[in-house]
């Protein structure tokens, strides 16, 4: 019985650790208008780790995919600004997705 309790405690402890880690490690993405018809998005994580290689897609207002790429070694992705409203999706795995609407782009 004592062993089971200990085991249960250890499992709960591990679970709690896992959960808190996922919470503490937030995916972040912001986009900037370069003023030359292009947009640069910068990704990252709240613990300072790099977003290099993270998938980025640009979709139009209807959700159709316009562009697809990945964050470069500097955790950046630059693309030609599409006409009309669009959304940039930064997908770093489940629970680590960020969507930036075109009206939220920093000028």
């Amino acid at each position: 019985m004592k062993h089971i309790r200990l085991y249960l405690f250890a499992t709960l402890f591990t679970l709690a650790l896992g959960v808190s880690q996922a919470m503490a490690h937030t995916a972040l993405c912001n986009c900037f208008d370069n003023g030359d018809g292009t947009v640069t998005c910068e990704g990252g994580f709240s613990d300072g780790s790099s977003a290099a290689g993270v998938a980025v897609t640009v979709v139009d207002a209807g959700g159709a995919e316009l562009m697809k790429g990945a964050m470069d070694a500097n955790s950046q992705y630059t693309f030609k600004k599409p006409d009309g409203k669009f959304t940039v999706k930064f997908t770093a795995g489940e629970g680590h997705e960020v969507a930036v609407q075109s009206d939220k782009i920093v000028q």
Partner: protein, 264 residues
């Protein structure tokens, strides 16, 4: 006549006992958690009491570090006249366009000659902004003669959260150093280039205007901002340079932190 002498003596004594509030090199922008256009005012003054503004000469250095890349900003600054409750004098302003990560702004002023003390003051000042919550440079030294290296992010503090920083001189921690901390009580008006006419708070006594602290045996300062706003932290004479133009020099390390209340 005797009475007049007594009165004069009393006035003189009173004048002597008026506390000397701390000089602070301002490198002010209203919001540390911002991206896009940041406006800065560079003013050497006494921000806790909207006191005397001292004329700034063109700084020795002014730069920013973002993602380990250093950008010189010295040629971007323009002269302004800053007005406090007592006078107006020359400072500088600039604007900067910030993106992701930490932006560590560093100002190395030209030493200011304090006539009353026959000595120079140079407050090497650091302000770190971050708009997107991706930490990149805040905890790294900038290689300055003297500087504060934060152990807690200076732009992500609720009131009541503790801020710690290591004081370095020539890259080595400075134990037992004297530190002055002031609350920026008179909010800078970015359009008028002046302090607000009225303070945000009224200090219960002079002890709370310039607060005196010490670094510990490891050169670490621990300070908890009790309410929201800008707080200036200055280590007096911490730097290795003790003389400038054959006169005594106080080479100080300044860092500004901003405590922000949660949105309700």
């Amino acid at each position: 006549m005797k009475r007049l002498i007594t009165l004069l003596a009393a006035t003189f004594l009173l004048a002597l006992t008026v506390p000397a509030f701390a000089h602070f090199q301002m490198l002010y922008t209203p919001e540390m958690n911002k991206m896009g256009k940041l406006e800065f005012k560079l003013v050497f003054t006494h921000p806790a009491e909207s006191g005397h503004v001292m004329k700034m000469d063109k700084p020795q250095e002014f730069f920013v570090i973002n993602k380990e890349k250093k950008t010189d900003l010295l040629e971007t600054i323009k002269p302004i006249k800053w007005t406090s409750a007592t006078n107006s004098d020359e400072g500088f302003e600039t604007t900067f366009s910030a993106r992701g990560g930490d932006y560590m702004f560093v100002l190395v002023p030209t030493p200011y000659f304090e006539k009353s003390e026959e000595s120079y003051i140079q407050q090497i000042t650091k302000v770190i902004t971050n708009g997107d919550a991706v930490p990149t440079d805040w905890d790294k030294p900038a290689g300055l003669k003297t500087e504060w290296v934060p152990l807690d992010r200076p732009y992500a503090l609720y009131p009541g959260m503790t801020f710690r920083a290591v004081l370095l001189s020539d890259g080595k921690p400075v134990p037992d150093a004297e530190v002055e901390i002031e609350y920026m009580n008179y909010t800078p008006d970015m359009k008028k280039n002046a302090f607000a006419k009225k303070g945000n708070i009224e200090a219960p006594s002079d002890h709370f205007i310039t607060m005196v602290h010490k670094t510990d045996a490891n050169g670490v300062l621990t300070f908890t901002p009790p309410f929201a706003g800008w707080w200036g932290i200055c280590a007096l004479g911490a730097g290795p340079d003790k003389q400038f133009q054959d006169k005594e020099l106080s080479q100080d390390a300044v860092i500004w932190i901003q405590a922000t209340s949660p949105k309700k």
